[in-house]
Subunit: 309 residues, 2 copies
């Protein structure tokens, strides 16, 4: 069954130490869908202006994305321009123009309302509520947010948590949300407000899944060439939710694998500008990187003898 994804469909202009890309495909819904459709069909809800090159999203339709929920309105598409620093871990936003996204009112098409898996990309929590009001009985609601909403829309965001099964944010965000620098305590704080699980993304340092009484850590894949980090978090979400929807399970083994697939897709996303690396990515490449993740993290436990101590 398809995943419902609601988020931004944007154009990005990105400068990195290695190059420059002008008005390329971007936005949380686009990165998410580019990753998730490698596992499972996705229904996308978003808004674009009349300047958006919708035909460039054709690769998504070809592998199971239903883009009929992307509304086209007169005006300009959401535009973001940013410049990454030398080490790629920090960036400056050079320009943000919301365009038609400023008045985005998600309308979930009739045929999308029975979705079991829902990904709420990083948009106003009030709109995230609106989306959930239109969905019949979602089983797995995964929600992203950011500091802007944590600071400016805290009330609706806290209420939203009660409707979310998995909150997926970065380390800075969960610390700010909980007002708590310790990640474990911050995750527990969130879990007391609704979400059964919290996924904390730490960029190149990996990601942690906090479940009820266990947790799972996946590293960032050590890459020789990180080209453009934009969208890595949404590609992670796409790999994670895409795999969960495909497996139809929330068993710990599937959640663990979902985390690794998230990191696999995040790691591929950063190898080229925009969603280019995800446009044609054979399942065999995804699988082989999953195996590599196992190789870089697996070890055998053993029993030390008391001989010396």
């Amino acid at each position: 069954m398809s995943i419902l994804c609601v988020g931004s469909v944007a154009l990005d202009s990105v400068e990195t130490p290695f190059g420059h890309a002008e008005r390329v495909l971007g936005g949380s819904a686009v990165f998410f869908t580019a990753a998730a459709t490698l596992f499972n069909p996705v229904e996308v809800v978003g808004v674009v202006g009349d300047d958006y090159p919708l035909d460039e999203l054709g690769f998504l339709s070809e592998r199971g994305a239903d883009l009929s929920g992307i509304e086209r309105r007169p005006g300009e598409s959401f535009f973001w321009a940013g410049r990454y620093h030398f080490d790629l871990n920090t960036r400056d936003t050079l320009e943000t123009r919301l365009g038609v996204f400023a008045d985005f009112q998600p309308k979930i098409p009739e045929g999308f309302r029975d979705a079991r898996h829902v990904f709420l990309g990083n948009i106003d929590p009030v709109l995230q509520h609106d989306v959930l009001d239109q969905v019949e009985s979602p089983e797995v609601v995964v929600c992203d947010t950011m500091n802007y909403w944590i600071e400016g829309s805290r009330g609706p965001l806290l209420e939203l948590l009660a409707r979310v099964r998995i909150l997926m944010v970065n380390d800075e965000e969960v610390r700010e949300l909980a007002g708590e620098p310790n990640l474990l305590k911050a995750a527990r704080w969130v879990q007391e407000r609704g979400p059964e699980m919290v996924v904390v993304k730490k960029g190149e340092h990996g990601a942690i899944l906090f479940a009820d009484d266990w947790l799972f850590f996946v590293p960032g894949f050590p890459l020789e060439n990180v080209f453009d980090p934009t969208g890595a978090g949404d590609a992670f979400a796409g790999g994670f939710v895409g795999y969960l929807a495909r497996s139809g399970s929330l068993d710990p083994q599937d959640l663990r694998r979902a985390m690794v697939y998230g990191s696999v897709l995040g790691s591929y996303a950063v190898e080229e500008f925009s969603v280019r690396r995800l446009m044609s990515l054979p399942l065999s490449d995804i699988q082989s990187r999953l195996v590599q993740f196992r190789e870089i993290t697996a070890f055998e436990t053993h029993l030390l003898q008391e001989e010396h101590v």
Copy 2:
């Protein structure tokens, strides 16, 4: 066979958001030895002033440390005072007084010179050379350093690399040493200059071992209460080298376990001020945390079918 450890034996005054400790045991050799002696005997070479409470190091002697290589000289011991910020990831140095450490000339006692495993704590690379000149035929030389020497003593440090089997530094240091922001490339740069392996410590984000054609990642242990991060890197080194010396092997499985034991010891070290948490740490606690590391990182690979794609 004993590990030879050369490094600072210091007194630290530490402020964290949770408390304050005055003139407590510190220094790279002390943290290293407190961790390593849980696995294997250690011979320590260092210098202290006449103000040093050597009796407080008695717990190390009791479990196999030979402290006869710690020279006592008239004057003040190496003293460091620092204050950690709210999130414990950053700190300000409030005071550093080198005292007798300023003129430290490591003299390796006759009985220590046949050491197979040598840990060169973070001291002047010129002195690290002197140490190696006095050791007969070390098999595994593990070396730490810091930005101060990378910038101020680059020549001797680069020459030293040719004599080191495992360089163990943090992410910032390896980036600065190689002039390369990408960790993988920075590690390769180091490996081209001598060390067969590079261990990059990333604090709460874990550590990576770069070997010849493989690498291994261990996360930082997610702790609810990080009390004082001082010495975590040296405790990591102690767990790592301590286990390697005990196993007498450099097999990939032992290197992987050594990384995990390093992270185990680093994680215990930060639970209390100074080396307090390492003073009596049963092997069963070390083992149970090793198992927990496995639980938070292990996943089963599987084969995705091409059904949807």
